[in-house]
């Protein structure tokens, strides 16, 4: 959870002469921001920005959002369990910042693309963005994932990972592999997938598997989808995972 309010960095940025925040809000930015929010943020922060009690912080009514610099920094770098989105363009980050600062009852004013660019200039550069199809996991990881998947996950998602529960008492769950999985998660990163899984799954007892097993299960999902393995295992580094994006087979 963020612990501080408007920061010294924001003041510094303003004093540097580029206004990150402004009073007016561009409607086109809001529209673009809404679409980006639906794709990348809503899964955790929920459609009305309400978050999930004690799991994902609410954006509605969050005073932290008053600090535009803080918002931009967190989108770029991630924070705690929130994955980073370093590959979003400046205008996309601006659109998202506009949207979350001026939706769900928030009225913190607009954010400019130029201001976002200035803030990001002080942050770590994007680094190499990869696709899941670039050999990002190892077969050993996927094998481990196959071994640990069935007991906690197969109950609802099914041992075939197609969302048909192994346990008839469970309600069918989303598929975790193949075309449907690629479509639903298209454009998101493995960082988002890991964070979401660890914080919410299994529903009855989220986060009870070792972190490495969550990663192994993701490798198993990729392998079942037909994504080829590589020689370097998936890393638990959220920055690293945030730069591996999910998408259709090239």
């Amino acid at each position: 959870m963020p612990m501080h309010g408007p920061s010294a960095i924001a003041i510094l940025t303003l004093s540097a002469g580029i206004a990150l925040a402004q009073d007016s809000v561009d409607p086109a930015m809001m529209e673009q921001g809404a679409a980006l929010y639906a794709q990348h943020c809503q899964i955790c922060h929920k459609p009305e920005g309400q978050g999930t009690a004690s799991v994902f912080p609410p954006l509605a009514g969050s005073e932290n959002l008053a600090d535009a610099d803080y918002v931009v920094t967190n989108i770029h770098n991630g924070v705690v369990t929130m994955p980073p989105f370093p590959w979003l363009s400046d205008v996309e980050v601006a659109a998202l910042a506009n949207y979350v600062r001026n939706s769900f009852g928030n009225t913190y004013g607009g954010v400019t693309e130029a201001g976002v660019a200035a803030t990001r200039a002080d942050l770590e550069p994007v680094g190499q963005v990869r696709s899941i199809w670039d050999g990002v996991y190892t077969q050993e990881q996927a094998d481990r994932g196959r071994a640990v998947f069935n007991s906690p996950c197969g109950l609802c998602h099914g041992s075939r990972l197609n969302g048909a529960p192994d346990d008839q008492d469970m309600r069918p769950a989303p598929p975790l592999a193949r075309a449907n999985f690629l479509r639903v998660w298209n454009g998101r990163s493995l960082g988002a997938l890991l964070s979401y899984s660890r914080m919410t799954m299994p529903q009855s007892n989220p986060g009870f598997l070792p972190e490495e097993d969550y990663l192994a299960i993701i490798a198993h999902m990729l392998a079942t989808t037909g994504v080829p393995p590589g020689t370097t295992p998936l890393s638990l580094d959220i920055q690293e995972l945030g730069r591996i994006r999910i998408g259709p087979k090239p």
Partner: protein, 690 residues
């Protein structure tokens, strides 16, 4: 199958290292052994009723109709109290639907497993190596809280029905009080419980109350040692099911530790083992028909009649035989009158497999095209309303008539396609696979995005993406001020059913109702809506990886068809499906129209484009898989008091008659917890009758 061998009494008394072989004995030898080893078990040949008009073929203290979760529990309980017990079951083997269940057994009230997990302790045998899944406060339960939970008027489910409000109060009080002793009783009869993880539907919201039942994989199947072979557990081959376990056992690593497997097999087989060992007698292949009462609506229940109903393999003509035989009485006479000196216990299930009785609750579901769960395992006698019909004939009352409508497993559309028996994934290797011939293709809810669903005339009837959605179980996501479960749940709080919460939680989708609606093929007098079909093409298979091959589908059973043209596909369905009553005259037009919608990006009939991408059905071959409606639970049934005595229309117990499990109404509780505790109570009191 290993060779059967005879044993003598010495073997029986001393036990055997290999329990599986031990029980694989001939029926006659088993019966002799039991009768000799357990002197209290009297197999009367003939006796006369007080008025001398009835010939009795057998006479025992307690007769139980049905050997499932309520019946086996009652049988052991009564036997423990010294009664001679005879169980009559219509199937070839014991366990009922408990055997194919997930074994998620919600009890509570401060039961032994809650206390064990609260203390962070392992099981007595030391199999459990994982820490508790629930925090101690979530397990801190007592009988008052459990009773409050299962009579909580304020709880509404996601269908805006109230699951607990209408429960029979005296019965619920007895149930809550008997949950802890029933848990201990099951543990004393070789049932091993995993860590508790949540609560099963209908078990109350305030605490975590449900573990699964498990066995450990080992080199032999030994109920007393708690081990099972991979072959018997059905985990040795992903496409084989064993005669021991009609559904492959599931990995229980995260609830127990490595090599643990779970499901109803780890509950049903231990209880069956214990019952047989303790001298309970069984007459299988025999349908219970009627109760015999002193006078039509008055006096004691004296016994029951049961008819020979052999389950015969239709391909070989050979009768199926139970996995274990000890205690079996192989009597093939057509009709038997069986006298119960103390009591009859009705535990023969609900009405979910009887379309005519279902009609009382939802007339559209009278269509016999739609079965109950476990229709292959149980055959046509499963859940056939035998207890309800027989008890009504002697004046019994009913309870919970509207409660069938308040839990999503009562009736729903299955996401397992291509088999009539669409509830479980039984594979070849089980003796009843022959009654289904295909395992079905489990596609999940998401699979419904890949095809169009049509009715018996070949017309679409609903947004397919929403078709399989069911209103949520009796669980409430804790979310700020909204009602929650576990420690977030505030019992009896009016806000649980405030208008605001109901608006927020109401998620009822009417796909099932559209599926069973009248259509052009519905004809007087029944106006059946007919079978349902998923229609798709080769591209759908390429997208999903569905395995359209045996054992998942069969070209023989009429639930799967394939063709290079839609017209021929429609012709094949009409000719080959056992419940096709009219041609699918609209199918070609429907597919053409659909492909037009896909090209235009909009589905004006059902607005499906809002929910998921739409795919053309254009690349041959074309496929049809059956979509089944399953009626699973029975919440309307016989009215009982706190002793599980059946109550008559005057509100008075019928002397000598008890009931438990799905036969009983007025208790909205899905699954096993209802049956085991009611069986425990019924067995207790039946054995005490004079």
């Amino acid at each position: 199958m290993t060779d059967k061998r005879s044993i003598d009494d010495q073997d029986f008394k001393e036990g055997s290292l290999n329990r599986r072989d031990f029980f694989r004995v001939g029926a006659a030898a088993g019966m002799t052994a039991a009768a000799a080893a357990v002197p209290g078990t009297v197999m009367a040949q003939t006796s006369e009723t007080p008025d001398g008009t009835i010939h009795w073929d057998y006479e025992v203290d307690v007769v139980i109709a049905g050997g499932g979760c309520a019946g086996l529990t009652a049988a052991i309980r009564a036997r423990d109290a010294g009664a001679s017990v005879l169980v009559v079951d219509q199937n070839y083997d014991l366990g009922g639907r408990m055997l194919h269940s997930g074994s998620y057994l919600s009890l509570g009230g401060g039961d032994a497993i809650q206390l064990r997990d609260m203390a962070g302790a392992a099981d007595a045998e030391g199999f459990i190596t994982v820490p508790p899944a629930e925090d101690p406060p979530e397990l801190d339960d007592n009988i008052e809280l459990l009773f409050t939970d299962v009579t909580d008027w304020s709880v509404v489910d996601a269908k805006a029905q109230s699951p607990y409000r209408y429960n029979e109060r005296e019965m619920m009080r007895a149930w809550a009080e008997n949950c802890p002793p029933t848990r201990q009783f099951l543990m004393d009869n070789y049932v091993r419980f995993t860590r508790i993880s949540g609560t099963h539907g209908g078990g109350g919201l305030s605490r975590a109350r449900a573990p699964y039942c498990f066995l450990m994989l080992g080199d032999r199947t030994d109920i007393e040692a708690g081990t099972i072979t991979a072959e018997d557990a059905g985990v040795a081959d992903p496409e084989r099911t064993s005669p021991f376990a009609p559904v492959q056992m599931e990995d229980a690593t995260s609830f127990v530790g490595p090599n643990a497997v779970r499901n109803g097999v780890a509950l049903a087989r231990p209880l069956e083992y214990s019952a047989r060992k303790k001298g309970v007698m069984f007459i299988l292949h025999r349908s219970f028909n009627d109760l015999i009462r002193e006078r039509p609506f008055d006096g004691r229940v004296l016994g029951l009649t049961a008819t020979y109903s052999p389950r015969v393999n239709p391909d070989t003509g050979i009768r199926l035989e139970s996995f274990w035989q000890l205690g079996n009485v192989d009597d093939r006479r057509e009709v038997l009158n069986i006298r119960a000196r103390k009591a009859v216990i009705l535990a023969s299930g609900g009405h979910a497999g009887n379309p005519e009785v279902r009609s009382m609750f939802y007339p559209a579901l009278r269509d016999p095209a739609f079965p109950t769960s476990g229709s292959a395992l149980q055959g046509s006698g499963g859940q056939d309303a035998s207890a309800l019909k027989a008890a009504l004939k002697i004046g019994a009352n009913m309870a919970g008539m509207q409660q069938n409508l308040s839990y999503p497993t009562t009736f729903h559309i299955s996401s397992r396609l291509g088999t009539r028996d669409a509830y479980t994934d039984m594979m070849p290797g089980h003796p009843t696979f022959v009654f289904r011939k295909s395992t079905g293709v489990a596609v999940g809810n998401a699979g419904f995005e890949e095809f169009i669903a049509v009715n018996q005339v070949g017309k679409r009837f609903f947004n397919e993406v929403r078709l399989p959605k069911r209103p949520g179980a009796n669980r409430y996501p804790g979310d700020g001020a909204a009602p929650g479960q576990g420690l977030d749940h505030t019992p009896l709080d009016w806000r649980n059913c405030s208008a605001e919460w109901i608006r927020k939680s109401y998620t009822y989708d009417h796909g099932l109702d559209a599926a069973v609606a009248l259509n052009e093929g519905s004809r007087a007098p029944h106006y059946y809506s007919g079978p349902l079909w998923a229609i798709f093409d080769q591209d759908a298979i390429d997208r999903t990886g569905w395995e359209i091959r045996f054992p998942y589908v069969s070209e023989e059973n009429g639930y799967y068809f394939k063709s290079d043209t839609i017209d021929d596909l429609a012709r094949q369905i009409y000719a080959g499906h056992p419940y096709s009553r009219v041609p699918l005259g609209h199918l070609s037009t429907t597919v053409t129209t659909w492909n037009g919608y896909v090209a235009a990006g909009a589905d004006p009939e059902f607005e499906r484009e809002k929910d998921a991408p739409m795919y053309a059905i254009a690349k041959p071959p074309f496929y049809a898989l059956s979509i089944m409606v399953i009626w699973h639970d029975s919440y309307g049934g016989l009215r009982c008091n706190g002793r599980q005595q059946v109550i008559d229309m005057q509100g008075v117990p019928i002397p000598g008659l008890y009931a438990g499990g799905e036969a009983v109404g007025g208790f909205n509780k899905h699954g096993l917890g209802k049956g085991h505790v009611q069986g425990f109570i019924a067995g207790t009191h039946a054995a005490r009758e004079l």
